[in-house]
């Protein structure tokens, strides 16, 4: 990871040392959040659908990046936790008729427990073996989802997951006139904003700094007294829980949970999202989610060969822009500043 650590370090010193530029004084996150909230009023139903997809994918990709970019763990089975969250929430709401306020936290908790058990074994392995074991666990989840007809619905899946009861929103002025799907969209945006803020806080905390230290040099981290495996496991559990939240929201959003969600190629897709945005930056994965969902929508209008386009994008990314979109913008921005400063 040595070659990639330079960029964020440089970004850090600039933020502390240099005079704050105009661009850094604008509260970007607030603007994006308010814009996302406004989508049901300013956009079509289809725009809201896309925005919800982007928001959920963004949280999923950010949770993966906690492992990939922050801790340096290449998980090739992250979709397992997304899937467990989706199934737990879906089963509790549909089969047991529990309210969302119980099912949603339960999905996060259940996923965290599963991540604790599977992660306990995964963090004992290094590099490729770690990737293989995460893949094995995700395929176990897939096999269970695909075959355990009584609980998961097997290959038929769990269709018609109900929307949560959102009648309380009618009491808020301006929201009463919205359709249930739009009200759920607002709830999703709020929950994802809170989740992203929480992950951001974790990454910037002393705990997050230790994770970055482990990524850069596990031997040295162990040498200064860090329990590397315990920290990796903690990161694994936190990442799993947030993936579980994303999955729970996705199950309701797409009105069903199906075994396809958990197939291993979905893990690769979220990984592409993360890298496309730039895994060295907190806002990289959300940018990647935005870019990929938007591109998918544009490309599928013209051709059915979306995987081909995705593969080509991935090639360009790997060979030309390994830093992703945000990495590329950052590089360009620093060039411009240097050129103006000279």
């Amino acid at each position: 990871m040595t070659s990639q650590t330079v960029a964020p370090a440089a970004a850090e010193t600039r933020a502390i040392g240099g005079a704050p530029s105009l661009a850094s004084r604008i509260p970007w996150t607030l603007i994006v959040f308010l814009f996302a909230c406004a989508v049901p009023w300013i956009g079509s139903r289809y725009n809201t659908f896309l925005a919800e997809q982007i928001a959920i994918d963004a949280l999923f990709a950010v949770s993966l990046n906690l492992l990939l970019g922050t801790t340096g763990l290449v998980s090739f089975g992250h979709v397992a936790y997304f899937g467990v969250g989706a199934y737990v929430c879906g089963i509790l709401m549909k089969t047991y008729d529990l309210p969302f306020i119980v099912a949603f936290p339960a999905a996060g908790l259940g996923t965290a427990l599963f991540a604790l058990v599977s992660g306990f074994f995964c963090v004992r392995l290094i590099k490729l073996y770690f990737a293989m074991l995460t893949l094995a666990f995700s395929q176990i989840v897939w096999a269970i989802a695909y075959k355990w007809n009584d609980v998961t619905g097997g290959d038929q899946g769990l269709p018609d997951i109900p929307f949560p009861n959102l009648d309380w929103m009618n009491a808020i002025p301006g929201l009463g006139s919205l359709k249930t799907a739009d009200q759920f969209y607002l709830l999703t945006i709020a929950l994802i904003a809170v989740s992203l803020a929480a992950v951001h806080r974790i990454v910037r905390s002393p705990f997050g700094r230790v994770l970055t230290t482990i990524r850069d040099n596990p031997e040295r981290a162990a040498f200064i007294g860090v329990n590397v495996r315990a920290y990796q496991l903690a990161a694994f559990v936190v990442a799993g829980a947030f993936a579980g939240f994303a999955g729970a929201l996705y199950g309701i959003f797409s009105r069903g949970v199906f075994a396809d969600y958990v197939f291993w190629s979905k893990s690769a897709e979220v990984m592409i999202m993360t890298i496309l945005g730039g895994m060295d930056y907190f806002w990289g994965p959300p940018v990647g989610a935005l870019a990929l969902v938007w591109l998918n929508q544009q490309v599928t209008d013209y051709t059915e060969y979306w995987p081909f386009v995705l593969g080509a994008i991935l090639l360009v990314l790997l060979f030309v822009f390994p830093g992703g979109i945000v990495g590329g913008i950052d590089l360009l921005w620093r060039r411009v500043r240097r050129w103006r400063g000279a």
Binding site: L128, K147, I272
Partner: protein
């Protein structure tokens, strides 16, 4: 349960196993030498199957047609492997595994769609070559000749591969590259050529496997991502990079799947993934491999 049906269950498992061995051996070889998990190996196998179908369509299925088609598939996929290794893989050798993994995944996406574009999405099938179309009676069970042929091919390739790797000059070079790439390079050997050679050889095996599977299974889009996970399991069980390990890994996989269906139907899929996880936890380098 009668001995006869147990025997045919066993033979079914063995056929699965020998097919998987043809695919997994190439995957294991590339991993052992280049330390790269090649997700695209399943795609090579699929392209091999489509090329074989194309070959049969050109050469007619009678007489030597099928064998010519298999040869075409093997050489075609081998040539494709050579181009991919030279143009794309080479710059990635120094990079992290993540980039290599994602590169092979990009190949999966591109080759999958290329196959759809060239051959469409409908099921294609190839008839069994006339020489092997019959069947024989063993212990009161009917065994298709073609399955027996596959069961013979597997050990043949395993033995041949072992012979070349352990008893020839080329094999010595390959094993040296596996142990210490830089040192071999410094001693004046052309490591780049060895890498290309091994990658091409592994691609040829995938292409051949794809061609040989066509009389038994129909060719459909998506067969690439389904087979690659199975091949991974086999390689993990046997030990990545070990040729005999992959052989026994395939036998274990085939039999667990085959008898698992008898013991708990519906969960045999689960049992093979669980087996993979247990092996990774207890002995990450596999039953026959050596620790990295």
């Amino acid at each position: 349960m009668s001995a006869g049906s147990l025997f045919s269950q066993f033979m079914g498992g063995l056929t699965t196993a020998m097919f998987l061995f043809l695919i997994a051996s190439g995957l294991s070889l590339v991993f052992g030498i280049m330390r790269v998990i090649n997700f695209a190996h399943g795609s090579f196998y699929m392209i091999g199957a489509y090329l074989a179908w194309q070959g049969v369509a050109w050469f007619h299925p009678t007489g030597a047609g099928f064998w010519l088609a298999a040869l075409l598939a093997m050489l075609g996929v081998g040539a494709m492997g050579a181009v991919i290794e030279r143009l794309f893989f080479r710059p990635l050798y120094g990079r992290e595994e993540l980039y290599q993994l994602l590169f092979t995944y990009a190949l999966v996406l591109i080759l999958g769609d290329a196959a759809k574009f060239l051959w469409g999405t409908q099921q294609l099938s190839v008839s069994t070559p006339p020489v092997l179309a019959g069947s024989v009676q063993i212990f009161g069970t009917t065994q298709p000749l073609y399955n027996l042929f596959i069961m013979a091919i597997g050990p043949l390739i395993a033995f041949g591969g072992w012979l070349v790797l352990n008893r020839s000059g080329i094999g010595r070079m390959v094993r040296a590259a596996q142990m210490d790439r830089e040192m071999l390079d410094a001693l004046g050997a052309n490591v780049g050529t060895i890498y290309t050679g091994m990658f091409v050889f592994s691609s040829c095996l995938a292409g051949l496997a794809g061609a040989l599977v066509t009389p038994i299974q129909s060719i459909v889009p998506g067969m690439d991502v389904l087979i690659i996970v199975q091949a991974f399991i086999v390689v993990v069980i046997g030990g990545m990079g070990s040729f005999w390990g992959t052989f026994w890994g395939s036998v274990i996989y085939g039999e667990v799947l085959s008898f698992g269906i008898l013991i708990f139907p519906g969960f045999s899929l689960f049992s093979v993934f669980a087996l993979m996880a247990v092996i990774l936890i207890v002995r990450p380098w596999g039953l026959f491999g050596r620790p990295l």
